[in-house]
């Protein structure tokens, strides 16, 4: 073999690695969510209803709506990506969102806390909640599926206790019983009333998460734990710490989504966020992250999230029933999974 320059690709975003030959199918899978997003966008343009010759799908208000609607599940999906790359799962995220919205509202309205202490307290609560789940899972060697299923119930229960099973409406103003008006910004748009603030939170969080996953020691540990936990342990990776951390991250993300939720809708509700865990998992999987762990990409998750939102939007614009929307989402999840499985088989790596 001739002398070859040896280097490692700069970005380990998809450490599943390129196969020996540039397999076109592998490339499709690597960028499947981006390709899917483009396909959905093109489909959206083609099938969009028009008004006065304007394509409604491309209307700035419509686009803003799409990216605003996906920001909460998007924030959660970002956290979920870390967990799934370690071959784990977190089912508690939607419930933690509900709990966080309730705690946010009641701290400001009935507790009389200021904005900053409230946000800090809720974020810390999310981190602690996730870390507890991670600790139980690693300490007692329990499947994260079970632990976070219990966590889901616990968070909903706590939310009901805190809220007394009531909506907690957030009214703005100065003085006790009122939230600082600046909190309402989460429901608004910036830059000439174009970009929703919730979306900005989502994108900033996604950017930070991308950097953490791809360029830090911690990010590398996350891939290692999911790639082969035993091998990681033998190589000196602090496996338990990494696992606890990723659940703390999903807890943090869910709490942040809960705060955004409370700010967007001006209330806290114990029952909100139901099913968000499944939407988030779907976005992560469509984004090309393997449920078997060890491979995944944050950019894929963002694209997958927006794609699901755009798909729902175009179906809504055409007055297609929610039932059909569910079926379309199902088909896309299966397609994404089948593509990944085909590539794995090509690489001869089994499942």
């Amino acid at each position: 073999m001739s002398e070859q320059k040896i280097s490692v690709t700069a970005s380990p975003a998809v450490p599943a690695a390129a196969p020996r030959h540039r397999d076109p199918l592998a490339l499709v899978v690597r960028f499947q969510s981006l390709i899917g997003l483009v396909v959905v966008a093109i489909g959206g343009i083609i099938f969009s209803p028009r008004r006065h010759g304007q394509i409604l799908f491309l209307d700035p208000d419509n686009i803003a709506n799409i990216v605003r609607a996906v920001s909460e599940t998007g924030i959660i999906a970002i956290g979920m990506t870390f967990v799934i790359i370690t071959a784990g799962i977190d089912l508690s995220v939607g419930a933690v969102l509900g709990l966080s919205s309730v705690v946010t509202a009641s701290m400001m309205i009935s507790g009389g806390f200021g904005l900053i202490p409230t946000i800090l307290a809720v974020l810390i609560m999310g981190i602690v909640f996730g870390a507890i789940q991670g600790t139980i899972s690693t300490r007692f060697r329990l499947e994260p599926f079970i632990v976070t299923l219990a966590g889901l119930q616990a968070a909903r229960g706590l939310a009901l206790v805190v809220s007394g099973n009531q909506y907690i409406n957030i009214s703005y103003g100065d003085g006790p019983g009122l939230a600082p008006p600046v909190f309402a910004i989460l429901g608004e748009r910036l830059f000439n009333n174009t970009v929703p603030v919730a979306t900005i939170v989502f994108i900033v969080f996604a950017a930070i998460a991308t950097i953490v996953l791809n360029t830090t020691r911690f990010g590398r540990y996350v891939f290692a734990v999911g790639g082969n936990e035993r091998a990681a342990r033998i190589s000196g990776v602090p496996v338990s710490m990494v696992k606890i951390s990723v659940y703390a991250i999903t807890g943090f993300a869910s709490a942040m989504a809960g705060i955004v939720h409370a700010g967007q809708f001006n209330f806290g509700s114990a029952n909100d966020g139901m099913g968000y865990e499944l939407t988030a998992i779907a976005a992560v999987v469509i984004g090309g992250t393997s449920l078997f762990g060890g491979a995944g990409s944050m950019v894929g998750t963002v694209a997958g999230t927006i794609m699901l939102g755009a798909l729902a939007n175009i179906l809504q614009l055409n007055n297609i029933t929610p039932a059909m929307q569910l079926l379309a989402t199902a088909a896309i999840i299966v397609l994404a999974a089948v593509l990944q499985s085909l590539v794995r088989r090509r690489e001869g790596l089994g499942r």
Binding site: P15, A17, R20, T215, R217, G227, V237, G294, A295, L349
Partner: protein, 505 residues
């Protein structure tokens, strides 16, 4: 002369642009044990998969008893009397031995109920036919790898085949088990079964084979008789004469690195019949390669893992010292801090992140070093990878390929290179060349000797006696978890075996 039992003529098989077989002729007579040798990638697995119906040939024919056959799937090959024991055993770990043996063709009672007692007694009969005391009611997950291999072999034999293809059946067996297996194979051959025996262990060939076919680069490099000199076989295998497989020993041992005196430990998961060691005493000096010999269950693997702080229940007892100072090796962290690195015997299960790139695997044990302030430095990472590629001839020379796509020998080089990057002072190796071809073995031995010459202490456990004898400066024999004898390298194999089996010389 009558037609051979099985013959392959002009077999060609391509995978995409890669030609795995380039016109292979092969034949097997009834009652013959035919060894099939070849380095990884030589095409022997592809040939085996053609015979067992996993692949169909692009060109060429397969005949059984002179009749042309074509297999579209493994079931058709089985129906024609060809049974294959693959290296990755097709056993269900969560079922018991009897259930595995009868999987898919369970014995039934009237009414559609499983006849468990009948299956268990039949399983016991078949297991005892190869003189192995495995309880048919025990779960496969609780068996050792060697015992599982035996169950898989019994399972394949029970298809009452005319042709038996065995892919490295002895890779995980102890010497005694290998002898028993060979007895069975000879008995089967005497009854008219033709056996294709694929192995990496050249020294086994004269013991068992009637004829040898050596493959290289998708072709038959030569057909020879089993008593051909080993150098001749190696020349056919690698296509050029290979220098001595084992490097010359160095005699310069330095200061004592590791020292155990009456040391003992308990395992977190003790399998039935395992005796915790009542006291191990041994030394490993800098620059020295020390071998651990012993029959299966003697505690070789357990001792190595315990020295690395894994699988322990509680603490080490007795004297454990590094550099003459007492040290607590109760956790991986402590072992690594003491400069100890460990390479497992199970590279796929606990050595590598198979789906991740070679380069990412290589730097796994030095992540801390390549990430100042917690950020991965691409430059340091590339330097580390370059260092590994300079040290080991890992093929293909591309750090971006998933490590799972590499051959066994190259995967093993990656596992070794990974630990060596961490600059350990003491390297613990468990079965360093299991499932590795001869060329890669030679390279690994040479590299280990070089590292030792630079002052690394190496403690290596192996079930391959020639490897221990050829590679090591000293060999410590374990029995029931204790050191019972010690020999210098180059000792006679039988002397070591006698000590391992508890027979007085």
């Amino acid at each position: 002369m009558s037609a051979p039992l099985l013959s392959v003529t002009g077999a060609v098989k391509r995978f995409g642009g890669v030609q795995a077989l380039r016109g292979v002729d092969f034949d097997l007579k009834a009652g013959e044990i035919h060894a099939l040798l070849g380095e990884n990638g030589a095409g022997k697995s592809t040939l085996m998969n053609l015979l067992s119906g996993v692949y169909t040939p692009d060109e060429g024919t397969i005949h059984i008893d002179g009749q042309q056959v074509a297999f579209n799937n493994p079931r058709e090959a089985q129906a024609a009397g060809i049974a294959t024991i693959f290296q990755e055993l097709d056993l269900v770990p969560t079922l018991d031995v009897a259930a595995n043996l009868f999987l898919g063709r369970e014995l039934m009672r009237p009414g559609g109920f499983l006849d468990v007692p009948a299956m268990r007694s039949e399983a016991r009969r078949r297991l005892e036919a190869i003189e192995l005391a495995i309880d048919p009611a025990s779960m496969v997950a609780n068996l050792s790898i060697g015992q599982r291999q035996v169950v898989a072999i019994v399972k394949a034999l029970s298809y009452a085949s005319r042709v038996l293809i065995m892919d490295e059946p002895t890779a995980a067996l102890t010497v005694g088990e290998v002898d028993r297996l060979f007895d069975i194979m000879r008995k089967l051959a005497a009854s008219g079964v033709g056996i294709v025996y694929i192995s990496h262990r050249l020294e086994e060939v004269p013991q068992i084979a009637d004829r040898v076919t050596v493959m290289r680069d998708g072709r038959v490099a030569g057909v020879t008789e089993p008593h051909a000199p080993q150098a001749e076989l190696v020349r056919l295998l690698v296509g050029r004469p290979l220098d001595e497989l084992y490097p010359e020993r160095s005699t310069k041992a330095g200061k004592t690195l590791l020292s155990l005196r009456d040391a003992s430990f308990r395992l977190a998961h003790e399998s039935a019949g395992w005796q915790p060691p009542s006291g191990v005493s041994l030394d490993v000096k800098a620059g020295e390669i020390v071998g651990l010999a012993g029959i299966m269950g003697a505690g070789r693997t357990e001792l190595l893992s315990a020295l690395y702080g894994t699988g322990l229940s509680g603490r080490w007892e007795g004297e454990v010292a590094m550099d003459g100072r007492p040290v607590r090796l109760d956790s991986i962290r402590a072992a690594r801090a003491a400069g100890i690195a460990f390479v497992t015997d199970d590279r796929r299960g606990s050595g590598l992140m198979l789906r991740m790139a070679v380069g990412l695997n290589l730097v796994m044990s030095v992540i801390r070093r390549i990430s100042p302030f917690g950020l991965i430095s691409q430059r340091r990472q590339a330097d580390a990878v370059k260092q590994s590629f300079g040290q080991f001839d890992i093929r293909p020379k591309n750090p971006d390929i998933a490590v799972g796509a590499l051959s066994g020998g190259n995967q093993q080089k990656v596992v070794l290179a990974k630990e060596i990057l961490g600059n350990p002072r003491l390297l613990l190796l468990d079965e360093p060349t299991r499932g590795v071809d001869v060329g890669a073995k030679g390279e690994i031995y040479a590299r280990l000797r070089q590292l030792a010459a630079q002052g690394l202490g190496i403690l290596v456990a192996s079930s391959e006696m020639p490897e221990l004898i050829g590679l090591c400066d000293r060999i410590v024999v374990l029995r029931e978890g204790r050191n019972v004898a010690e020999f210098i390298g180059g000792v006679d194999e039988h002397t070591v075996l006698d000590a391992a089996n508890g027979r007085e010389a």
